[in-house]
């Protein structure tokens, strides 16, 4: 069951890099499984790729907003098995690429060995309909097994690049990167920020200068407004990733789901307008 990879299809077009892309991030199962699925259906028209967090109990790269979303999802009963079922349900109506973000430990449990668990978990995620994966605590140095099984199951393993990533490591990462690269726009954990750092501009320039193949650059971490988004695409980002600011909308409206969906749609449509 090696479906085509929707990320690679999306960027295969030779004019693909003329376009700008929006990938919102939500934690799978936040605030509840049913509401989550319903929200995806509502925001579908305004987004290009969907990024889903599969919660881990100890997410060291995430700020308080995502941590709280994880807690809500855990309370709603999320785990790997439920997440797989949820993605399958989303796939009944959602045709665009899906990327999951998780931590390595979530992927290496369930079978006899770490390697067989990784093989098995990635196969099950692929069968559920995902196209790419971001592993927040897996640097290129430890990614050998993950690369092997992502290749086997035709999943794009998406690497993170930070402002602090040195040139020699950047080259190693770009050599293995598939789909797109995820550039961390700030020095820090996830979470909405008020300003875009100057450092971002330099990092985009530096990464672009190293890219030899035609791989898009997506920016994430700290982006919270349409103004941020348009500034970053002007600086050369091909795609924008927004998580915490989306989750803030959920958090603000926990008692009123209709309003939550309405505000979420307004937010994604404002980002979509800002970059296209």
């Amino acid at each position: 069951m090696n479906h085509t990879n929707r990320i690679l299809d999306l960027f295969n077009d030779k004019n693909a890099l003329e376009e700008k892309y929006f990938m919102p991030f939500l934690v799978c199962g936040d605030p509840s499984i049913e509401q989550f699925i319903s929200m995806i259906e509502k925001i579908d028209p305004y987004i290009d790729i969907l990024e889903l967090g599969i919660p881990f109990s100890d997410p060291i790269a995430d700020g308080p907003t995502v941590q709280e979303a994880n807690m809500r999802a855990f309370e709603a009963g999320i785990n790997t098995k439920v997440a797989l079922d949820t993605i399958k349900k989303i796939r009944t109506f959602f045709q665009k690429p899906i990327v999951i973000l998780t931590y390595y430990n979530i992927l290496i449990q369930g079978s006899e060995t770490i390697e067989s668990s990784l093989d098995n978990t990635l196969r099950r995620f692929k069968e559920s309909g995902i196209d790419g994966i971001v592993i927040a605590d897996l640097p290129i140095e430890e990614a050998g097994l993950a690369l092997k099984y992502c290749k086997k199951h035709n999943i794009s393993l998406i690497f993170l690049i930070a402002p602090t990533t040195t040139d020699d490591r950047l080259e190693k990462i770009l050599k293995e990167a598939r789909g797109f690269v995820y550039l961390i726009s700030i020095l820090g954990v996830t979470g909405a920020r008020e300003k875009i750092a100057q450092i971002t501009k330099e990092t985009i320039k530096r990464v672009k200068s190293k890219i030899k193949t035609k791989i898009p650059i997506f920016l994430g971490f700290g982006i919270s407004t349409p103004e941020h988004a348009s500034t970053l695409v002007e600086l050369g980002a091909d795609g924008i990733i927004i998580g915490s600011a989306m989750i803030d909308v959920i958090k603000r409206n926990l008692s009123d789901f209709t309003k939550m969906e309405k505000e979420l749609v307004e937010f994604v449509s404002s980002i979509n307008n800002a970059i296209k």
Partner: protein, 400 residues
Amino acid sequence: MKYSGRYPNKCGKFGDFGGIFAPEVLMPALNELTEAFEKYRNDESFKKEFYQILESYGGRPTPLFYAKRLSEDVGCKVYLKREDLLHGGAHKLNNVIGQALLAKKMGKTKLVAETGAGQHGFATAIAGAYFGMETKVFMGEVDIARQAYNVYRMQLLGAEVIPVKIGSKTLKDAINDGLRYWITNVRDTHYLMGSVVGPHPYPLLVREFQRVIGIETKKQIMELEGRLPNAIIACIGGGSNAIGIMYDFIEDENVQLIGVEAAGEGLETGKHSIALGLGRRGVLHGSLMYLLQNEYGNILKTHSISAGLDYPGVGPEHCFLKELTRLRVETATDNETLASFQKLSVIEGIIPALESSHALACLEKIKGEFNKDDIVIINLSGSGSKDLNIIKQRMEFKVK
């Protein structure tokens, strides 16, 4: 067995264990730390400065004390390595002086650390004051409540104690938040890891700074007895006091190395911290190790009467030594620990930390294995003065 100098390898691996499972933002800082450590670990002037501080400021060497009455009681020769007498009241000082000195050489101006029992946070606050470095200590709210005295001591030393309000609000969550802080402030800040856990190079450098315990112990026991001990017993939370005393004995195959994990309220209750004994392989806080986790890979809440052992994982080198069958793993419950705590206080006039009392409790359980001339060394890793509130509550409760 040839062991020394082979582990970890260049990638930070002890067999399959260890490694660098860290967010990308931290990778340059970890690589920088590895480079600095490799540069200074064999630098004579660095080593000299390190030992000189531990001697003149810390009180090294600590005594290896023949516990005569305890020996008579258990029926073998028991020696206590008195790390409780080190400045700060625990072995933690060795590590913080080493890391803070290294950080200073690297040009870092700030220290950030996590703490469970408060011992490592207190030690970090001492190092921060000694070296004039701004210090922040992340501590779970649950731990803050049970270690109020240590919080106050850290504050007296000028450190800022930051409460961690998420997750189980204990050590593992303090590490999470400490690492998050470091991710955001990586340029001028050194993350001072308190145990032999975390991504490479931490398990290596913490071990190297704690090795002084075992090096001294070996010299002292040869002077006192003219032979090596039959066994060394140490408690294991993250595992720094255990690896510290054991490392220089790994190749002495006739010396049993026994690590004691916290069985909490008992195996059957699920309220324990037996990561080596009952955990499954997984990745937490940057390192592959045995972990207490559910079937989906989420980390379980752990329990121990001693905050310092209340951790769902265990250092990668211990995992590897267990796999090599070089390390024997035992457990002690809260109640067994309290009984041994009380016994040592009464018969030797030494109030041990609850952590170290696990090692004493283990000896009590396996004393039948030793003859009267056998030598057992216990790493008395810390003083119990920090635990008096908990002891008082528990002992009164027992009397009722």
